[in-house]
């Protein structure tokens, strides 16, 4: 074979391999782009003005679908307002942010963005959100927004980028009938780690083999369920400057030991599971308690009306001498930095409305989430079920928003992995959390 022939064959081989590999190289790009384009076609966010003075200003409100459907805000608003029309644009959580990034990059952002609070700093950092400092300061009702929501939930780098919207906080639910049958006081659910473990033991001895439904397997739930136990012991995830991770300190180790005890004694469903969420077993009364969020109320109500009438909620237990806490999650609501003129004004008016009495009623009664203002708890609906909403209100006062850091999403993985390694028996709490802290510090420093 001549040299020329050999190089010819090699070229053909290389071209074949490049052709085959290009399929891979473009797989990610095409998939994402496609979803963005489809979305663009359905949204009316082309920036053109609504024609004519009588025509309403049309703006698009983007939020997540699945479970409760926030598009109901738009429906209720549109029914009572003529000058502004809200076009709801809901996307499943997995796709919502990818599609949103594509739209914003193309200069075609929805005007109103409902953002999971853990995403807010990243979108603010990427310049997708408008600051609304003046708007926030001009609202009289901001005085009655729960303090933890004002401190962290809506701020990044000393600017206000959002208003608190619908809140989903973490707490535990318990079956009052099971409590009574086991000899526990349903009006005084356990408050400390030890009391909680003792209650689990009592329930187990009364025949409820797996007293607690809980899972920490999904990334994000470690923040929702585990971090409040750390905060309850005086611990923090990051230091005040957000330059160092503190998750390897004693309160965090104590909290993880608590979950390990639940696991090792068979008090809980497998907490490492990613098979399903925990509402099903509790709603079916196979378990007596459940770690959950505000959505648990609606989930139990729809699956077991009788249990709904006989359940209570409580804030998570605390270590001796600590202060009970909760994770304040859910959505904040922002104006896109691409919205201007009358569309920006319309967006702010809608944002104002969702925090009005009417908007908060939708939040609580239609969506099953919690309002950001104290007056949102002063309704008949809430007063009638103080055994459920009492703990939620306490959680709003004493809870914590997540650390507002643009890379918090990256920090959840190492913590989740550490918890899983401990619960699977692969590592002890202290070294696992030290390893997690080192990884998170690496993220903070990169």
């Amino acid at each position: 074979m001549s040299f020329d022939d050999e190089s010819d064959v090699d070229r053909r081989r290389i071209l074949k391999a490049i052709g085959a590999s290009s399929v891979l190289g473009l797989a990610g790009c095409s998939g994402n782009g496609g979803s963005g384009e489809t979305e663009d076609e359905t949204d009316n966010t082309d920036g053109t003005d609504a024609s004519g003075d009588d025509e309403p200003v049309e703006i698009t409100y983007r939020d997540r679908s699945g479970g409760s459907d926030p598009s109901i805000y738009a429906d209720v608003y549109n029914d009572s307002h003529d000058s502004i029309e809200i076009n709801p644009s809901m996307k499943p959580v997995e796709e919502k942010y990818r599609a949103l990034i594509a739209q914003i990059s193309a200069g075609n952002s929805p005007e109103v963005l409902g953002l999971d609070v853990v995403y807010l700093p990243r979108f603010a950092q990427l310049g997708a959100l408008d600051t609304i400092n003046d708007f926030f300061d001009s609202r009289e009702y901001t005085d009655e927004i729960f303090q933890p929501l004002k401190e962290d939930f809506i701020n990044w780098n000393d600017d206000v980028y959002a208003m608190p919207f619908w809140i989903d906080l973490s707490a535990y639910y318990y079956n009052k009938n099971h409590y009574e049958e086991a000899g526990l006081d349903p009006e005084n659910p356990p408050e400390t780690f030890q009391e909680f473990l003792d209650a689990c033991e009592t329930l187990q001895q009364a025949g409820y083999d797996t007293p607690l439904s809980n899972t920490l397997g999904f990334v994000g739930l470690e923040s929702f369920f585990y971090l409040p136990h750390v905060w309850a012991g005086g611990g923090e995830f990051l230091n005040e400057d957000k330059t160092e991770c503190l998750i390897d300190e004693q309160p965090a180790v104590d909290a993880l030991n608590f979950f390990l005890e639940l696991q090792e004694n068979g008090y809980s469903t497998d907490q490492t599971s990613t098979e399903s969420f925990t509402y099903g077993a509790f709603a079916a009364e196979e378990t007596s308690m459940m770690y959950g969020g505000g959505t648990g109320v609606g989930a139990v109500k729809s699956q077991n009306e009788e249990l709904f009438e006989n359940m209570g909620t409580a804030m998570f237990p605390k270590p001796e001498g600590g202060t009970r806490s909760s994770f304040l999650g859910g959505d904040s609501i922002s104006v896109s930095s691409q919205a201007s003129g009358e569309k920006r004004e319309a967006a702010l008016e809608f944002i104002d409305w969702v925090n009005s009495e009417e908007g908060m009623k939708v939040t609580v009664e239609d969506l099953g989430y919690l309002p950001a203002r104290k007056s949102g708890f002063d309704t008949e609906y809430v007063k009638n079920r103080q055994d459920i909403f009492g703990a939620f209100r306490q959680g709003m006062e004493q809870g914590h928003a997540p650390p507002m850091h643009p890379r918090f999403l990256e920090m959840q993985g190492p913590l989740n992995n550490a918890i899983e390694r401990v619960l699977l028996g692969n590592q002890d709490p202290q070294p696992a959390l030290t390893q997690a802290a080192e990884t998170i510090n690496g993220v903070l420093q990169s």
Binding site: R13, A17, V23, R98, I101, S273, T274, L424
Partner: protein, 313 residues
């Protein structure tokens, strides 16, 4: 360039040059063919060449705003990935995953193809049954296997019921069993796919070759080794290359069943790539990750073609 290198000289017959005007006898270039090619070329450039080049440039940048501002960071993105222990964990898992995804179904598919090719009774029903998993959507298969292998799933119920184990096993949320559990689903799904390709290859081998082997007194094993395998090489090569590329870009298999967990025990390159790019929104790093995956797929494809000893697929 010497005339020895022209296409017509090499294949020894006259081939008209459609891209010059020599056939019309007029001087200059005939632009008509280029005009016909233009729409395809523009489409190719817009949907493939431009994104490819832009993504390559992005892999050396960091996006600072979604308005299009980028900052040049040189090789930082590549350095960050190559110094990330999860990348290496995912790489090792991808190698294991590839072996499981390519070679196990290949061996099983070859065995089944030979069985079917012998023409034993009931093979058409058997062939249909083996092919059914191929048409089951990947996500559906992942969900079904998630149920089967869950702690409350069918497999655990059978194992506990039969007294083989006392407590349900964690298959999916175990650092030991999560990746093998995904591979079980993958092997189930791909064996039928390989079977069809290999069976077509087997049926393309002329009977008289086997006849000659029989006359020469060759054993079954010698016939398989010296006739079947060499003549089946193009079909095997196709399955291996398709398998390697599929395994490097495999995503939903793992994502649906384990999400890469627990503790990255089933993380593969594509799932981690997805997390970096679309969950953490590290677009520059994600682009660099994409090109590393591209380089791996390119290298593996070249190696397979080279070691197969030929380019005829």
């Amino acid at each position: 360039m010497s005339s020895r290198n022209t296409l017509s000289d090499r294949i020894g017959r006259f081939v008209p040059d459609r891209f010059s005007s020599s056939t019309t006898g007029e001087p200059g270039i005939n632009w008509t063919p280029y005009l016909y090619l233009l729409p395809a070329f523009v489409l190719y450039a817009v949907v493939l060449v431009y994104p490819f080049i832009d993504t390559f440039i992005l892999s050396f940048q960091r996006i600072t705003t979604l308005g299009g501002e980028r900052r040049w960071v040189g090789l930082q993105n590549y350095e960050a990935i190559l110094s990330d222990p999860i990348f290496w964990r995912a790489s090792l898992n991808t190698v294991i995953f590839s072996i499981g995804m390519v070679f196990v179904p290949l061996v099983l598919g070859l065995g089944l193809a030979i069985l079917i090719d012998t023409g034993v009774s009931g093979t058409s029903t058997f062939r249909s049954l083996i092919f059914v998993p191929v048409i089951v959507p990947l996500v559906v298969a992942g969900i079904i296997f998630g149920w089967l292998l869950g702690t409350n799933g069918l497999l655990n119920s059978v194992l506990v019921g039969a007294g083989i184990i006392e407590e349900p096993m964690r298959f999916l949320n175990s650092t030991t069993w999560s990746l093998p559990s995904v591979l079980v689903m993958v092997i189930w799904k791909r064996t039928g796919y390989y079977l069809v390709i290999l069976l077509a290859g087997l049926q393309g081998i002329p009977d008289n070759v086997y006849e000659a082997a029989r006359v020469a007194g060759k054993s079954r094993w010698a016939t398989f080794r010296n006739i079947t395998l060499p003549l089946l090489k193009p079909a095997i090569l196709v399955t291996v290359i398709i398998g390697i590329i599929d395994s490097v870009k495999a995503f939903a298999h793992v994502y649906v069943m384990t999400g890469g967990g627990p503790s990255h025990s089933s993380e593969i390159l594509a799932t981690y790539f997805y997390k970096v790019a679309f969950r953490f929104f590290q677009f520059g790093k994600g682009a660099a990750y994409g090109f590393i995956l591209f380089a791996i797929a390119l290298t593996l494809s070249l190696l397979v073609i080279r070691f197969s000893g030929g380019s005829e697929i």
